[in-house]
Point group: none
Chain length 156, copies 2
């Protein structure tokens, strides 16, 4: 967190500096101000959003783990509408929350790339989670993983 802010400031300073530099070099063409403004705006906006998401992610995970413990009490209950994953099976198999999240997205028919964009991570990361989840489920394909997941009550 502290690091983020630091990097943020650093990047900002660098950007300003390079702007200042390049401005007096070769891009004194017309409309440079608006162009630069737009560029900087876009850059910092995306960065800001990314930062915001990143910061709040930690809180989310905390909430999720809490949730898991609460759900553990009613235990073996195949609920139907708001789905409650079978945490017993999940824990015995050692399937993490993130892996389960990706499994549900797989079950809903998304490709790895789509999942990656939805979760704001790289496709490689998704593939890693997939591989681990498949291994834990003893599945060789995503369709098989989905099937196993449904059998075990991990997926709706």
């Amino acid at each position: 967190m502290r690091r983020h802010v630091l990097i943020f400031g650093l990047v900002g300073g660098l950007l300003i500096a390079t702007l200042q530099y390049t401005e007096y070099r070769f891009v004194i063409i017309e409309h440079s101000v608006e162009l630069y403004s737009a560029l900087v705006a876009i850059l910092f906006a995306t960065f800001g959003i990314w930062l915001g998401l990143r910061i709040t992610r930690s809180r989310e995970t905390i909430r999720e783990t809490v949730v898991v413990r609460e759900v553990l009490v009613p235990a073996e209950a195949p609920a139907l509408e708001p789905f409650a994953p079978n945490t017993a099976h999940q824990q015995t198999l050692g399937i993490t929350a993130r892996e389960l999240e990706i499994l549900t997205l797989i079950a809903r028919g998304f490709s790895n790339r789509e999942i990656a964009t939805q979760l704001f991570v790289s496709e490689n990361t998704v593939k890693t989670h997939c591989a681990r989840a498949f291994d834990k489920l003893g599945a060789a394909r995503r369709t098989q993983a989905v099937q196993r997941g449904k059998e075990l009550g991990l997926l709706p």
Copy 2:
């Protein structure tokens, strides 16, 4: 979410516009470029962070409400009797019996090759059936086809 992005773009455009306007009015003092860059950067950064927080907060609340309901609503036995596919949907979509057969095998996690050996046909044939079924279901992937199939009551 879509709304957010829209507002975001709108605000961005407005900002740029006002920048462009004011620039030619009275603030052509020196160092305007860097000043503006910095200003825009800060503005958009904070806005981005705010947006990020906002987006994730809604997700969090959703999670929480789900939890509460899960704890309150207990069980409901899962019905498991011989499955009868929804022939109405099947016919309107023009899905043949063979295609449905292959879809069920896909849903059970088999690969094309495995399906081919099970049905005593070539893998190419299976792939053709797959392609046709996916087309009729509007699916791009087998997982998506399975999901659609379950939604339509074609698959158990």
